[in-house]
Point group: C2
Chain length 283, copies 2
Protein backbone atom coordinates (compact mmCIF):
# COMPACT_ATOMS: atom_id res chain seq x y z
CA UNK A 1 0.00 0.00 0.00
CA UNK A 2 1.10 3.56 -0.49
CA UNK A 3 2.82 5.53 2.21
CA UNK A 4 -0.28 7.59 2.98
CA UNK A 5 -2.11 4.69 4.57
CA UNK A 6 -1.92 3.75 8.23
CA UNK A 7 -3.73 1.42 10.60
CA UNK A 8 -6.39 2.57 13.03
CA UNK A 9 -7.33 0.23 15.88
CA UNK A 10 -10.22 0.15 18.30
CA UNK A 11 -9.29 -1.61 21.51
CA UNK A 12 -12.43 -3.06 23.07
CA UNK A 13 -11.70 -3.40 26.76
CA UNK A 14 -14.61 -5.64 27.80
CA UNK A 15 -13.54 -8.36 25.37
CA UNK A 16 -9.78 -7.78 25.43
CA UNK A 17 -9.85 -7.76 21.64
CA UNK A 18 -9.40 -5.14 18.96
CA UNK A 19 -10.51 -4.48 15.42
CA UNK A 20 -8.65 -2.24 13.02
CA UNK A 21 -8.72 -0.87 9.52
CA UNK A 22 -6.17 0.35 7.02
CA UNK A 23 -7.14 3.97 6.64
CA UNK A 24 -6.35 6.61 4.10
CA UNK A 25 -6.95 9.50 6.47
CA UNK A 26 -9.42 11.33 8.66
CA UNK A 27 -12.11 12.95 6.54
CA UNK A 28 -14.17 14.75 9.15
CA UNK A 29 -14.67 15.22 12.86
CA UNK A 30 -17.25 16.93 15.04
CA UNK A 31 -17.67 17.17 18.76
CA UNK A 32 -21.43 17.24 19.35
CA UNK A 33 -22.99 18.04 22.74
CA UNK A 34 -23.10 14.28 23.31
CA UNK A 35 -20.09 12.63 21.72
CA UNK A 36 -17.20 12.90 19.29
CA UNK A 37 -17.98 11.70 15.78
CA UNK A 38 -15.11 10.93 13.41
CA UNK A 39 -15.10 9.86 9.77
CA UNK A 40 -12.15 8.03 8.22
CA UNK A 41 -11.55 6.83 4.71
CA UNK A 42 -10.25 3.27 4.35
CA UNK A 43 -8.57 1.25 1.62
CA UNK A 44 -11.06 -1.64 1.60
CA UNK A 45 -14.12 -0.74 3.67
CA UNK A 46 -15.17 2.63 2.28
CA UNK A 47 -15.86 5.33 4.82
CA UNK A 48 -15.87 4.52 8.54
CA UNK A 49 -17.79 6.28 11.31
CA UNK A 50 -16.48 6.23 14.88
CA UNK A 51 -18.28 7.59 17.92
CA UNK A 52 -16.13 8.30 20.95
CA UNK A 53 -13.48 6.07 19.39
CA UNK A 54 -15.82 3.10 18.89
CA UNK A 55 -16.42 1.81 15.36
CA UNK A 56 -20.06 2.45 14.44
CA UNK A 57 -20.18 1.45 10.81
CA UNK A 58 -18.28 0.92 7.60
CA UNK A 59 -19.69 1.47 4.12
CA UNK A 60 -18.88 -2.13 3.25
CA UNK A 61 -20.43 -4.19 6.00
CA UNK A 62 -23.23 -2.13 7.60
CA UNK A 63 -25.82 -3.99 5.52
CA UNK A 64 -25.44 -6.97 7.83
CA UNK A 65 -26.47 -5.04 10.92
CA UNK A 66 -29.14 -2.85 9.33
CA UNK A 67 -30.87 -5.74 7.59
CA UNK A 68 -30.88 -7.89 10.73
CA UNK A 69 -32.09 -5.07 12.98
CA UNK A 70 -35.14 -4.56 10.79
CA UNK A 71 -36.34 -7.41 8.57
CA UNK A 72 -36.63 -10.25 11.12
CA UNK A 73 -38.91 -8.09 13.29
CA UNK A 74 -40.89 -6.67 10.38
CA UNK A 75 -41.50 -10.13 8.94
CA UNK A 76 -42.41 -11.50 12.37
CA UNK A 77 -45.09 -8.89 13.04
CA UNK A 78 -48.29 -9.70 11.15
CA UNK A 79 -48.72 -6.24 9.63
CA UNK A 80 -46.33 -3.58 10.93
CA UNK A 81 -47.55 -0.05 10.22
CA UNK A 82 -46.09 2.19 12.92
CA UNK A 83 -42.42 1.79 13.63
CA UNK A 84 -40.16 3.80 15.94
CA UNK A 85 -36.37 3.65 15.80
CA UNK A 86 -34.58 4.88 18.91
CA UNK A 87 -31.05 5.91 18.00
CA UNK A 88 -30.20 4.80 14.48
CA UNK A 89 -28.96 8.27 13.53
CA UNK A 90 -27.03 6.93 10.54
CA UNK A 91 -30.45 6.25 8.98
CA UNK A 92 -29.53 2.78 7.71
CA UNK A 93 -32.15 1.00 9.78
CA UNK A 94 -34.76 3.57 8.73
CA UNK A 95 -33.98 2.84 5.09
CA UNK A 96 -34.50 -0.91 5.62
CA UNK A 97 -37.75 -0.39 7.56
CA UNK A 98 -39.15 1.76 4.76
CA UNK A 99 -38.53 -0.99 2.21
CA UNK A 100 -41.65 -2.63 3.68
CA UNK A 101 -44.56 -1.18 1.70
CA UNK A 102 -47.01 -1.79 4.55
CA UNK A 103 -45.19 0.58 6.88
CA UNK A 104 -47.18 3.79 7.15
CA UNK A 105 -44.96 5.74 9.52
CA UNK A 106 -41.36 5.34 10.67
CA UNK A 107 -40.03 7.74 13.28
CA UNK A 108 -36.31 7.85 13.93
CA UNK A 109 -35.47 9.50 17.25
CA UNK A 110 -31.74 9.98 17.81
CA UNK A 111 -30.47 12.29 20.51
CA UNK A 112 -27.63 13.52 18.36
CA UNK A 113 -28.45 15.40 15.16
CA UNK A 114 -24.77 15.44 14.23
CA UNK A 115 -24.77 11.68 13.63
CA UNK A 116 -27.40 12.14 10.94
CA UNK A 117 -25.64 15.17 9.45
CA UNK A 118 -22.43 13.19 9.20
CA UNK A 119 -24.29 10.23 7.67
CA UNK A 120 -25.90 12.48 5.08
CA UNK A 121 -22.49 13.78 4.15
CA UNK A 122 -20.38 10.60 4.26
CA UNK A 123 -22.89 7.75 3.93
CA UNK A 124 -25.50 9.24 1.59
CA UNK A 125 -26.60 5.75 0.50
CA UNK A 126 -27.92 5.11 4.02
CA UNK A 127 -29.95 8.32 3.92
CA UNK A 128 -31.66 7.78 0.60
CA UNK A 129 -35.04 7.21 2.24
CA UNK A 130 -34.87 10.20 4.58
CA UNK A 131 -37.16 12.13 2.23
CA UNK A 132 -39.78 9.38 2.19
CA UNK A 133 -43.10 10.96 3.24
CA UNK A 134 -43.56 8.13 5.76
CA UNK A 135 -40.29 9.03 7.52
CA UNK A 136 -39.94 11.44 10.41
CA UNK A 137 -36.53 12.34 11.79
CA UNK A 138 -36.47 13.64 15.37
CA UNK A 139 -33.44 14.70 17.30
CA UNK A 140 -34.46 14.19 20.86
CA UNK A 141 -33.98 12.07 23.94
CA UNK A 142 -35.24 8.57 23.10
CA UNK A 143 -36.04 7.80 26.73
CA UNK A 144 -38.36 10.79 27.04
CA UNK A 145 -39.78 10.16 23.58
CA UNK A 146 -40.79 6.62 24.45
CA UNK A 147 -42.14 7.66 27.86
CA UNK A 148 -44.50 10.05 26.10
CA UNK A 149 -45.93 7.74 23.46
CA UNK A 150 -49.63 6.99 23.46
CA UNK A 151 -50.17 3.56 25.04
CA UNK A 152 -50.73 0.76 22.54
CA UNK A 153 -49.89 2.92 19.56
CA UNK A 154 -46.83 1.25 18.04
CA UNK A 155 -46.19 -1.99 16.19
CA UNK A 156 -42.42 -2.13 16.41
CA UNK A 157 -39.77 -0.28 18.43
CA UNK A 158 -36.18 -0.77 17.26
CA UNK A 159 -33.48 0.28 19.70
CA UNK A 160 -30.54 0.91 17.41
CA UNK A 161 -28.17 2.30 19.98
CA UNK A 162 -24.53 2.47 20.83
CA UNK A 163 -23.13 0.28 23.63
CA UNK A 164 -24.69 0.53 27.10
CA UNK A 165 -22.29 3.20 28.29
CA UNK A 166 -22.52 6.97 27.84
CA UNK A 167 -25.61 8.38 26.09
CA UNK A 168 -27.12 4.93 25.48
CA UNK A 169 -26.86 3.61 29.04
CA UNK A 170 -30.50 4.41 29.82
CA UNK A 171 -31.69 2.32 26.86
CA UNK A 172 -30.81 -0.99 28.48
CA UNK A 173 -32.93 -1.04 31.65
CA UNK A 174 -36.37 -1.86 33.00
CA UNK A 175 -37.59 1.75 33.10
CA UNK A 176 -36.98 2.27 29.40
CA UNK A 177 -38.36 -1.14 28.49
CA UNK A 178 -41.51 -0.34 30.46
CA UNK A 179 -42.04 2.70 28.26
CA UNK A 180 -41.60 0.51 25.20
CA UNK A 181 -43.96 -2.10 26.61
CA UNK A 182 -46.64 0.54 27.25
CA UNK A 183 -46.27 2.15 23.84
CA UNK A 184 -46.47 -1.12 21.91
CA UNK A 185 -49.72 -2.74 20.88
CA UNK A 186 -50.41 -6.19 22.29
CA UNK A 187 -48.85 -7.82 19.24
CA UNK A 188 -45.97 -5.38 19.17
CA UNK A 189 -42.28 -6.22 19.01
CA UNK A 190 -39.29 -4.60 20.68
CA UNK A 191 -35.91 -5.09 18.97
CA UNK A 192 -32.59 -4.21 20.49
CA UNK A 193 -29.03 -4.62 19.29
CA UNK A 194 -27.63 -7.03 21.85
CA UNK A 195 -23.87 -7.15 21.45
CA UNK A 196 -21.62 -10.16 20.92
CA UNK A 197 -23.00 -13.64 21.68
CA UNK A 198 -19.48 -14.84 22.33
CA UNK A 199 -18.10 -12.37 24.84
CA UNK A 200 -21.17 -10.51 26.07
CA UNK A 201 -23.58 -13.32 26.81
CA UNK A 202 -24.06 -12.06 30.34
CA UNK A 203 -25.17 -8.69 28.99
CA UNK A 204 -27.69 -10.36 26.69
CA UNK A 205 -29.02 -12.34 29.60
CA UNK A 206 -29.31 -9.24 31.78
CA UNK A 207 -31.02 -7.35 28.97
CA UNK A 208 -33.58 -10.12 28.57
CA UNK A 209 -34.05 -10.11 32.33
CA UNK A 210 -34.81 -6.37 32.33
CA UNK A 211 -37.19 -6.82 29.40
CA UNK A 212 -38.94 -9.54 31.35
CA UNK A 213 -39.32 -7.31 34.41
CA UNK A 214 -40.95 -4.74 32.13
CA UNK A 215 -43.57 -7.28 31.13
CA UNK A 216 -42.27 -8.84 27.92
CA UNK A 217 -42.96 -12.57 27.86
CA UNK A 218 -41.05 -13.98 24.88
CA UNK A 219 -37.53 -13.34 23.66
CA UNK A 220 -35.53 -14.24 20.61
CA UNK A 221 -31.84 -13.52 20.14
CA UNK A 222 -30.64 -13.73 16.55
CA UNK A 223 -26.86 -13.85 15.94
CA UNK A 224 -25.31 -12.50 12.74
CA UNK A 225 -21.84 -11.64 11.46
CA UNK A 226 -20.76 -8.02 11.84
CA UNK A 227 -17.04 -7.60 11.15
CA UNK A 228 -16.77 -4.01 12.37
CA UNK A 229 -18.00 -4.81 15.89
CA UNK A 230 -15.96 -6.57 18.58
CA UNK A 231 -15.42 -10.28 17.79
CA UNK A 232 -17.12 -9.85 14.40
CA UNK A 233 -20.16 -11.68 15.71
CA UNK A 234 -23.17 -9.72 16.86
CA UNK A 235 -26.82 -10.15 17.70
CA UNK A 236 -30.20 -8.51 17.98
CA UNK A 237 -32.83 -9.51 20.52
CA UNK A 238 -36.57 -9.39 19.87
CA UNK A 239 -39.09 -9.23 22.71
CA UNK A 240 -42.86 -9.63 22.53
CA UNK A 241 -45.74 -8.84 24.85
CA UNK A 242 -47.53 -11.96 23.66
CA UNK A 243 -47.18 -14.51 20.91
CA UNK A 244 -44.07 -16.12 19.54
CA UNK A 245 -41.61 -15.74 16.73
CA UNK A 246 -43.03 -17.62 13.79
CA UNK A 247 -42.48 -15.25 10.93
CA UNK A 248 -44.26 -14.56 7.65
CA UNK A 249 -41.98 -16.87 5.72
CA UNK A 250 -44.01 -16.74 2.53
CA UNK A 251 -43.94 -12.96 2.54
CA UNK A 252 -40.21 -12.95 3.30
CA UNK A 253 -39.57 -15.23 0.31
CA UNK A 254 -41.76 -13.08 -1.94
CA UNK A 255 -40.47 -9.70 -0.76
CA UNK A 256 -40.33 -7.11 -3.51
CA UNK A 257 -37.03 -5.61 -2.41
CA UNK A 258 -33.47 -6.89 -2.54
CA UNK A 259 -31.37 -7.65 0.48
CA UNK A 260 -27.73 -8.67 0.62
CA UNK A 261 -27.71 -10.68 3.84
CA UNK A 262 -31.29 -11.20 4.97
CA UNK A 263 -33.44 -13.92 3.47
CA UNK A 264 -36.18 -16.18 4.78
CA UNK A 265 -33.60 -18.97 5.09
CA UNK A 266 -31.10 -16.75 6.91
CA UNK A 267 -33.94 -15.73 9.24
CA UNK A 268 -34.74 -19.38 9.97
CA UNK A 269 -31.08 -20.23 10.33
CA UNK A 270 -30.47 -17.42 12.82
CA UNK A 271 -33.17 -18.90 15.04
CA UNK A 272 -30.87 -21.86 15.73
CA UNK A 273 -28.79 -20.74 18.68
CA UNK A 274 -25.45 -22.49 19.20
CA UNK A 275 -25.68 -24.86 22.19
CA UNK A 276 -23.43 -22.72 24.39
CA UNK A 277 -25.56 -19.63 23.73
CA UNK A 278 -28.82 -21.50 24.25
CA UNK A 279 -27.50 -22.92 27.52
CA UNK A 280 -26.50 -19.48 28.81
CA UNK A 281 -29.78 -17.81 27.83
CA UNK A 282 -32.09 -20.69 28.58
CA UNK A 283 -32.06 -20.41 32.37
CA UNK B 1 -5.73 -3.51 33.09
CA UNK B 2 -2.37 -3.77 34.73
CA UNK B 3 0.75 -2.23 33.26
CA UNK B 4 2.09 -5.57 32.08
CA UNK B 5 -0.53 -5.95 29.35
CA UNK B 6 -0.19 -4.61 25.83
CA UNK B 7 -2.04 -4.96 22.53
CA UNK B 8 -0.90 -7.22 19.73
CA UNK B 9 -2.41 -6.66 16.28
CA UNK B 10 -2.45 -8.72 13.12
CA UNK B 11 -2.83 -6.55 10.06
CA UNK B 12 -4.45 -8.60 7.30
CA UNK B 13 -3.42 -6.98 4.05
CA UNK B 14 -5.90 -8.67 1.66
CA UNK B 15 -8.86 -7.32 3.62
CA UNK B 16 -7.37 -4.07 4.87
CA UNK B 17 -8.55 -5.01 8.35
CA UNK B 18 -6.88 -6.08 11.57
CA UNK B 19 -7.65 -8.12 14.63
CA UNK B 20 -5.89 -7.71 17.94
CA UNK B 21 -5.74 -9.02 21.46
CA UNK B 22 -4.76 -7.66 24.83
CA UNK B 23 -1.81 -9.84 25.70
CA UNK B 24 0.02 -10.57 28.90
CA UNK B 25 3.26 -11.53 27.19
CA UNK B 26 4.99 -13.91 24.81
CA UNK B 27 5.14 -17.40 26.29
CA UNK B 28 7.09 -19.27 23.65
CA UNK B 29 8.53 -19.04 20.16
CA UNK B 30 10.11 -21.47 17.76
CA UNK B 31 11.38 -21.09 14.23
CA UNK B 32 10.69 -24.40 12.54
CA UNK B 33 12.09 -25.32 9.11
CA UNK B 34 8.78 -24.06 7.69
CA UNK B 35 7.54 -21.14 9.71
CA UNK B 36 7.76 -19.12 12.90
CA UNK B 37 5.37 -20.23 15.64
CA UNK B 38 4.66 -17.90 18.55
CA UNK B 39 2.56 -18.36 21.67
CA UNK B 40 1.13 -15.42 23.61
CA UNK B 41 -0.89 -15.26 26.76
CA UNK B 42 -3.95 -12.96 26.70
CA UNK B 43 -6.21 -11.38 29.26
CA UNK B 44 -9.49 -12.71 27.86
CA UNK B 45 -8.80 -15.36 25.20
CA UNK B 46 -6.42 -17.75 26.91
CA UNK B 47 -3.33 -18.71 24.96
CA UNK B 48 -2.92 -17.58 21.36
CA UNK B 49 -0.93 -19.30 18.59
CA UNK B 50 0.45 -17.25 15.73
CA UNK B 51 2.20 -18.66 12.66
CA UNK B 52 4.34 -16.24 10.69
CA UNK B 53 2.49 -13.43 12.43
CA UNK B 54 -0.99 -14.71 11.51
CA UNK B 55 -3.41 -15.63 14.28
CA UNK B 56 -4.05 -19.37 14.14
CA UNK B 57 -6.13 -19.99 17.22
CA UNK B 58 -7.12 -18.82 20.65
CA UNK B 59 -8.05 -21.08 23.53
CA UNK B 60 -11.41 -19.34 23.78
CA UNK B 61 -12.83 -19.45 20.28
CA UNK B 62 -11.16 -22.34 18.41
CA UNK B 63 -14.16 -24.56 19.11
CA UNK B 64 -16.09 -22.71 16.42
CA UNK B 65 -13.61 -23.59 13.69
CA UNK B 66 -12.78 -27.11 14.82
CA UNK B 67 -16.42 -28.15 15.22
CA UNK B 68 -17.41 -26.72 11.84
CA UNK B 69 -14.43 -28.25 10.02
CA UNK B 70 -15.42 -31.72 11.21
CA UNK B 71 -19.02 -32.38 12.25
CA UNK B 72 -20.90 -31.14 9.16
CA UNK B 73 -18.82 -33.44 6.93
CA UNK B 74 -18.92 -36.38 9.32
CA UNK B 75 -22.71 -36.12 9.68
CA UNK B 76 -23.12 -35.72 5.91
CA UNK B 77 -21.21 -38.88 5.06
CA UNK B 78 -23.36 -41.98 5.61
CA UNK B 79 -20.75 -43.87 7.66
CA UNK B 80 -17.31 -42.27 7.82
CA UNK B 81 -14.61 -44.71 8.90
CA UNK B 82 -11.35 -43.50 7.36
CA UNK B 83 -10.55 -39.83 7.77
CA UNK B 84 -7.43 -37.91 6.80
CA UNK B 85 -6.65 -34.42 8.07
CA UNK B 86 -4.10 -32.48 6.03
CA UNK B 87 -2.55 -29.78 8.20
CA UNK B 88 -4.44 -29.43 11.46
CA UNK B 89 -1.25 -29.68 13.51
CA UNK B 90 -2.91 -28.15 16.56
CA UNK B 91 -4.89 -31.42 16.80
CA UNK B 92 -8.23 -29.70 17.46
CA UNK B 93 -9.88 -31.06 14.31
CA UNK B 94 -8.52 -34.52 15.08
CA UNK B 95 -10.12 -34.39 18.50
CA UNK B 96 -13.51 -33.52 17.01
CA UNK B 97 -13.27 -36.23 14.33
CA UNK B 98 -12.52 -38.85 16.98
CA UNK B 99 -15.67 -37.96 18.88
CA UNK B 100 -17.52 -39.95 16.19
CA UNK B 101 -17.54 -43.54 17.43
CA UNK B 102 -17.84 -44.92 13.88
CA UNK B 103 -14.47 -43.51 12.85
CA UNK B 104 -11.95 -46.35 12.71
CA UNK B 105 -8.86 -44.41 11.66
CA UNK B 106 -7.96 -40.72 11.61
CA UNK B 107 -4.61 -39.70 10.17
CA UNK B 108 -3.36 -36.19 10.76
CA UNK B 109 -0.61 -35.21 8.34
CA UNK B 110 0.95 -31.83 9.09
CA UNK B 111 4.24 -30.82 7.51
CA UNK B 112 5.39 -29.10 10.67
CA UNK B 113 5.92 -31.20 13.80
CA UNK B 114 6.60 -28.06 15.80
CA UNK B 115 2.97 -26.96 15.49
CA UNK B 116 1.89 -30.12 17.28
CA UNK B 117 4.66 -29.84 19.88
CA UNK B 118 3.55 -26.30 20.66
CA UNK B 119 -0.10 -27.38 20.82
CA UNK B 120 0.76 -30.20 23.23
CA UNK B 121 2.52 -27.69 25.44
CA UNK B 122 0.18 -24.70 25.28
CA UNK B 123 -3.18 -26.13 24.16
CA UNK B 124 -3.21 -29.56 25.85
CA UNK B 125 -7.02 -29.66 25.72
CA UNK B 126 -6.83 -29.85 21.91
CA UNK B 127 -4.43 -32.79 22.09
CA UNK B 128 -6.40 -34.92 24.50
CA UNK B 129 -7.27 -37.47 21.79
CA UNK B 130 -3.76 -37.78 20.37
CA UNK B 131 -3.30 -41.03 22.25
CA UNK B 132 -6.50 -42.53 20.85
CA UNK B 133 -5.57 -45.86 19.21
CA UNK B 134 -7.49 -44.77 16.10
CA UNK B 135 -5.29 -41.68 15.70
CA UNK B 136 -2.08 -41.51 13.69
CA UNK B 137 0.02 -38.35 13.69
CA UNK B 138 2.35 -37.92 10.71
CA UNK B 139 4.69 -35.03 10.10
CA UNK B 140 5.07 -35.00 6.39
CA UNK B 141 4.19 -33.16 3.20
CA UNK B 142 0.42 -33.36 2.80
CA UNK B 143 0.64 -33.00 -0.98
CA UNK B 144 2.90 -36.04 -1.31
CA UNK B 145 0.87 -37.92 1.30
CA UNK B 146 -2.37 -37.48 -0.63
CA UNK B 147 -0.68 -38.29 -3.96
CA UNK B 148 0.38 -41.67 -2.54
CA UNK B 149 -2.94 -42.80 -1.08
CA UNK B 150 -4.56 -45.92 -2.38
CA UNK B 151 -7.35 -44.93 -4.80
CA UNK B 152 -10.82 -45.09 -3.30
CA UNK B 153 -9.57 -45.71 0.21
CA UNK B 154 -10.81 -42.71 2.18
CA UNK B 155 -14.18 -41.46 3.37
CA UNK B 156 -13.29 -37.91 4.30
CA UNK B 157 -10.30 -35.64 3.68
CA UNK B 158 -10.20 -32.45 5.77
CA UNK B 159 -7.79 -29.77 4.60
CA UNK B 160 -7.18 -27.81 7.79
CA UNK B 161 -4.50 -25.52 6.46
CA UNK B 162 -3.15 -22.04 6.84
CA UNK B 163 -3.94 -19.42 4.21
CA UNK B 164 -3.03 -20.14 0.58
CA UNK B 165 0.39 -18.55 0.83
CA UNK B 166 3.65 -20.11 2.02
CA UNK B 167 3.61 -23.81 3.00
CA UNK B 168 -0.12 -24.18 2.31
CA UNK B 169 -0.16 -22.68 -1.20
CA UNK B 170 -0.11 -26.10 -2.88
CA UNK B 171 -3.24 -27.18 -0.99
CA UNK B 172 -5.55 -24.91 -2.96
CA UNK B 173 -5.15 -26.10 -6.56
CA UNK B 174 -6.34 -28.69 -9.07
CA UNK B 175 -3.33 -30.98 -8.73
CA UNK B 176 -3.83 -31.42 -4.99
CA UNK B 177 -7.59 -31.76 -5.36
CA UNK B 178 -7.04 -34.49 -7.98
CA UNK B 179 -5.08 -36.47 -5.42
CA UNK B 180 -7.93 -36.03 -2.95
CA UNK B 181 -10.48 -37.03 -5.59
CA UNK B 182 -8.54 -40.18 -6.42
CA UNK B 183 -8.03 -41.17 -2.78
CA UNK B 184 -11.67 -40.70 -1.81
CA UNK B 185 -14.30 -43.37 -2.23
CA UNK B 186 -17.19 -42.54 -4.54
CA UNK B 187 -19.25 -41.26 -1.61
CA UNK B 188 -16.29 -39.45 -0.08
CA UNK B 189 -16.18 -35.84 1.03
CA UNK B 190 -13.44 -33.25 0.79
CA UNK B 191 -13.56 -30.38 3.31
CA UNK B 192 -11.43 -27.28 3.13
CA UNK B 193 -11.27 -24.17 5.26
CA UNK B 194 -12.33 -21.51 2.79
CA UNK B 195 -11.61 -18.12 4.30
CA UNK B 196 -13.97 -15.17 4.80
CA UNK B 197 -17.26 -15.12 2.88
CA UNK B 198 -17.26 -11.34 3.09
CA UNK B 199 -13.86 -10.32 1.76
CA UNK B 200 -12.54 -13.47 0.10
CA UNK B 201 -15.52 -14.58 -1.95
CA UNK B 202 -13.39 -14.65 -5.09
CA UNK B 203 -11.00 -17.09 -3.43
CA UNK B 204 -13.89 -19.37 -2.46
CA UNK B 205 -15.14 -19.25 -6.03
CA UNK B 206 -11.69 -20.06 -7.44
CA UNK B 207 -11.27 -22.90 -4.94
CA UNK B 208 -14.59 -24.41 -5.97
CA UNK B 209 -13.53 -23.99 -9.61
CA UNK B 210 -10.29 -25.91 -9.00
CA UNK B 211 -12.22 -28.61 -7.11
CA UNK B 212 -14.55 -28.87 -10.09
CA UNK B 213 -11.64 -29.26 -12.52
CA UNK B 214 -10.42 -32.11 -10.34
CA UNK B 215 -13.73 -33.92 -10.80
CA UNK B 216 -15.82 -32.93 -7.81
CA UNK B 217 -19.41 -32.33 -8.80
CA UNK B 218 -21.15 -30.80 -5.78
CA UNK B 219 -20.07 -28.06 -3.40
CA UNK B 220 -21.33 -26.64 -0.18
CA UNK B 221 -19.88 -23.60 1.58
CA UNK B 222 -20.88 -23.25 5.23
CA UNK B 223 -20.22 -19.89 6.93
CA UNK B 224 -19.59 -19.64 10.65
CA UNK B 225 -18.32 -17.04 13.13
CA UNK B 226 -14.61 -17.16 13.93
CA UNK B 227 -13.50 -14.05 15.84
CA UNK B 228 -9.76 -14.70 15.60
CA UNK B 229 -9.71 -14.78 11.79
CA UNK B 230 -9.97 -11.71 9.54
CA UNK B 231 -13.47 -10.16 9.59
CA UNK B 232 -14.55 -12.64 12.29
CA UNK B 233 -16.61 -14.52 9.71
CA UNK B 234 -15.20 -17.66 8.16
CA UNK B 235 -16.28 -20.68 6.15
CA UNK B 236 -15.54 -24.26 5.21
CA UNK B 237 -16.33 -25.75 1.83
CA UNK B 238 -17.39 -29.36 1.29
CA UNK B 239 -16.98 -31.09 -2.08
CA UNK B 240 -18.37 -34.44 -3.18
CA UNK B 241 -17.65 -36.80 -6.07
CA UNK B 242 -21.33 -37.68 -6.20
CA UNK B 243 -24.43 -37.13 -4.14
CA UNK B 244 -25.56 -34.08 -2.27
CA UNK B 245 -25.45 -32.58 1.18
CA UNK B 246 -28.46 -33.94 3.02
CA UNK B 247 -27.03 -34.87 6.36
CA UNK B 248 -27.86 -37.47 9.01
CA UNK B 249 -29.99 -35.06 10.97
CA UNK B 250 -31.40 -37.69 13.31
CA UNK B 251 -27.91 -38.87 14.18
CA UNK B 252 -26.71 -35.30 14.62
CA UNK B 253 -29.57 -34.64 17.07
CA UNK B 254 -28.86 -37.85 18.95
CA UNK B 255 -25.07 -37.55 19.03
CA UNK B 256 -23.51 -38.89 22.20
CA UNK B 257 -20.95 -36.11 22.57
CA UNK B 258 -21.27 -32.45 23.49
CA UNK B 259 -20.49 -29.56 21.19
CA UNK B 260 -20.47 -25.87 21.97
CA UNK B 261 -21.29 -24.46 18.54
CA UNK B 262 -22.33 -27.32 16.27
CA UNK B 263 -25.83 -28.72 16.36
CA UNK B 264 -28.18 -30.18 13.79
CA UNK B 265 -29.99 -26.83 13.68
CA UNK B 266 -26.76 -24.86 13.30
CA UNK B 267 -25.81 -27.26 10.48
CA UNK B 268 -29.13 -26.63 8.73
CA UNK B 269 -28.87 -22.91 9.34
CA UNK B 270 -25.37 -22.71 7.88
CA UNK B 271 -26.72 -24.18 4.65
CA UNK B 272 -28.64 -20.95 4.05
CA UNK B 273 -26.16 -18.74 2.24
CA UNK B 274 -26.75 -14.99 2.40
CA UNK B 275 -28.04 -13.74 -0.97
CA UNK B 276 -24.84 -11.88 -1.82
CA UNK B 277 -22.75 -15.00 -1.18
CA UNK B 278 -25.12 -17.26 -3.11
CA UNK B 279 -25.08 -14.83 -6.03
CA UNK B 280 -21.29 -14.76 -6.13
CA UNK B 281 -20.89 -18.54 -5.87
CA UNK B 282 -23.88 -19.53 -7.91
CA UNK B 283 -22.43 -18.76 -11.34
Amino acid sequence: MNAATSWHYENFDPSGSAIGYRITGKLDEVQSPFQKIEIYGSTDWGNLMLIDGAMMLTARDNFLYHEMMSHPALFTHAAPKNVVIIGGGDCGTLREVLRHPGVERAVQCDIDEQVTRMAEKWFPELCESNGDPRAQLLFDDGIAYMANREPGSLDIVIVDSTDPVGPAEGLFNKAFYESCFRALKDDGILVQQSESPLVLLELIKEMRGEMGKAGFTAFQTLPFPQPCYPTGWWSCTLARKSGGFDFRETDARAKAFDTKYYSADIHKGAQALPPFVAAALGG
